[in-house]
Symmetry: C2
Subunit: 349 residues, 2 copies
């Protein structure tokens, strides 16, 4: 099969690799319908050290099941499935509490052992817990827009949803979303779904913020830093935002977040932090009782509810895809996302 590997910053290659095989009897082998490139893939694209063995890339996928291990009970060959970006048993204590990304037996794609999902085929561990079937859709004849929206349920839309959920977005609240990437725009759409009264989108790429407005943003703030904070405070009568959804992961975005959040409000982060230490003392969070939430989205927890929303057309999160490449052109897809000529790139087999 063909699969994408990263050999270091800026160096993504599509190579022929051995087809994956069942390792544990709880595995499934799936064949890609659509995969894609994630904003978080750009972090190693900027900074990964050079290695002789490429790191398998990709963690977002919709696929058709080819083969299952002898212990797989609920998934069968031919099923059209969404593959969440982390795998999990969906039965452990943390999964039962909705924290599937902390599953006691789960893990992440992208190692030599687990492989990546920017590939023709993939091995999915813990198939019963990880895969969710899409009912009554034939991927061979399905509408491209529908496939795009289903693909967002493997990560990007439900990561935005997780931000809004952990931020406790509800009717009447003012929500500020920091970041106009695909996760930020997904967070706008999710906040709208959860009934936010006002959604301020902080971003400076008009094509993207226009999609944000289509998704439900009521205000756009292009300024950043202290100027951006001041603009959001102006928009909120000097009070600040009840909820701030931080969809970037860099320190300046976090600094904006605690500048904007209202006393007693919540900052919910889903941009993977590119820092470990940050201000949380009296001058940032503590003094105003600001709360901090977020982390890797347990998309598995939200999938059963989201699939019907996509199938019914209630939400159309697939609009975040603005380019499609064949798997052989994945390196060009990374370049397009890195130089921001593409918002999010879909990959076809």
């Amino acid at each position: 099969m063909r699969a994408a590997f990263m050999y270091g910053a800026g160096d993504v290659r599509v190579e022929t690799a051995p087809d994956p095989v069942i390792v544990d009897q709880t595995d499934a082998i799936v064949r890609t319908v659509r995969s894609c490139i994630c904003g978080s893939d750009l972090h190693p694209y900027h900074s990964a050290p050079r290695t002789a063995e490429g790191r398998p890339m990709g963690h977002e996928l919709i696929a058709v099941v080819e083969e299952v291990g002898s212990e797989v009970r609920t998934i069968k060959p031919g099923d059209f499935v969404v593959v969440p970006f982390a795998f999990q048993d969906n039965t452990c204590v943390f999964c039962r509490e909705g924290m599937h990304t902390s599953c006691l037996h789960g893990g992440w794609y992208g190692s030599a052992e687990t492989g990546g999902l920017q590939a023709d085929l993939a091995r999915v561990p813990l198939a019963d817990g990880s895969l969710v079937k899409v009912p009554d859709v034939d991927p061979a004849t399905a509408d491209e827009g529908l496939l795009a929206s289903l693909l967002t349920l493997s990560d990007v839309y439900l990561t935005g949803y997780h931000a809004a959920h952990m931020g406790q977005v509800e009717p009447g609240k003012t929500v500020t979303v920091i970041g106009d990437g695909a996760v930020g725009l997904s967070a706008v759409l999710a906040a709208k779904q959860l009934g936010a009264e006002r959604i301020i989108l902080m971003g400076r790429h008009t094509v993207r913020t226009d999609l944000g407005i289509r998704f439900g943003a009521t205000d756009v703030v292009a300024a950043r830093g202290a100027e951006g904070v001041a603009e959001v405070l102006d928009l909120t009568n000097g009070e600040g935002s009840h909820i701030v959804l931080e969809a970037v992961g860099h320190m300046p975005a976090y600094e904006q977040a605690y500048g904007i959040v209202r006393p007693g409000g919540i900052i919910s982060r889903v941009g993977v932090p590119q820092y470990e230490e940050a201000p949380i003392g009296f001058g940032s969070l503590f003094g105003k009782n600001a709360r901090l939430a977020g982390g890797p989205a347990p998309v598995r927890a939200y999938l059963e509810a989201a699939i019907p929303q996509v199938l019914s057309g209630q939400i159309n999160p697939g609009l975040v895809f603005d380019r499609t490449v064949a798997i052989d052109d994945v390196p060009a897809g990374y370049r397009a996302m890195d130089d921001r000529t593409a918002l999010k790139v879909m990959v076809t087999p």
Copy 2:
């Protein structure tokens, strides 16, 4: 009147000062029934720079109203009141949201302008918003234990309560309290009131942890650091604590907190952080979706509910006081709390 002033680390003096007077017509002048020394007073006691003008000390008080300004409507001379450790109008947008310590017109005691509450008399700004009357109690004849418990409602018990409230303590939850000072023990009592199933108290002073057990702690862990974290994980089947109430404010306590908290759990801080930057990235909070909450307690938000609990004997938080000094002996009270021979020191006029 007599009042306590700090002239630098370790240097507390009781001096004769001018009686306070009404400055704004929303002020009240109150006469001390009981005041006390706070664990947070020990931070400047350790590190305050030397100054020629002493800083007025104290922010916890029950008192009788002597005089009110012409615009005070609900409080009158002779009322026996609890004085919250911050003053507020109780009408602004943040007060209405229960975030009284962020009141648009509120503030803190301890400046030359506002004075301190370790004194015979005090000026309370925004008296209608700040003072809460204790009904049907004559402080001249009231039981000492009752006065002690009412005094805790000006700060220490309701700060512990705030920790538990922001930590979303509820029946069925495992709560770990870090710190066996008066706030930590108050947090134990509050967690018990909110129905916590299990309350693990981390502290190494047996006299204090014994009171913690009386307040509802089910387990005591004396170890600190990595060893303490390991013990709490052992006690929780390796899963961690749903809620961690951090009642210290120093970095090692915060580091324990994120080591102990369960995926998706909440760390609620009420120890005033003696740091600004701290770990919040993938390796501490983000990776396991741990949440962070807490800040200066809006005790005014909780006072109306807490006073009847004290009057009825449902809670007896005044047990945290283990020494009483007359105001002239306040310096000895600081020394006793600093060398840990006293848990919390009450001050009589």
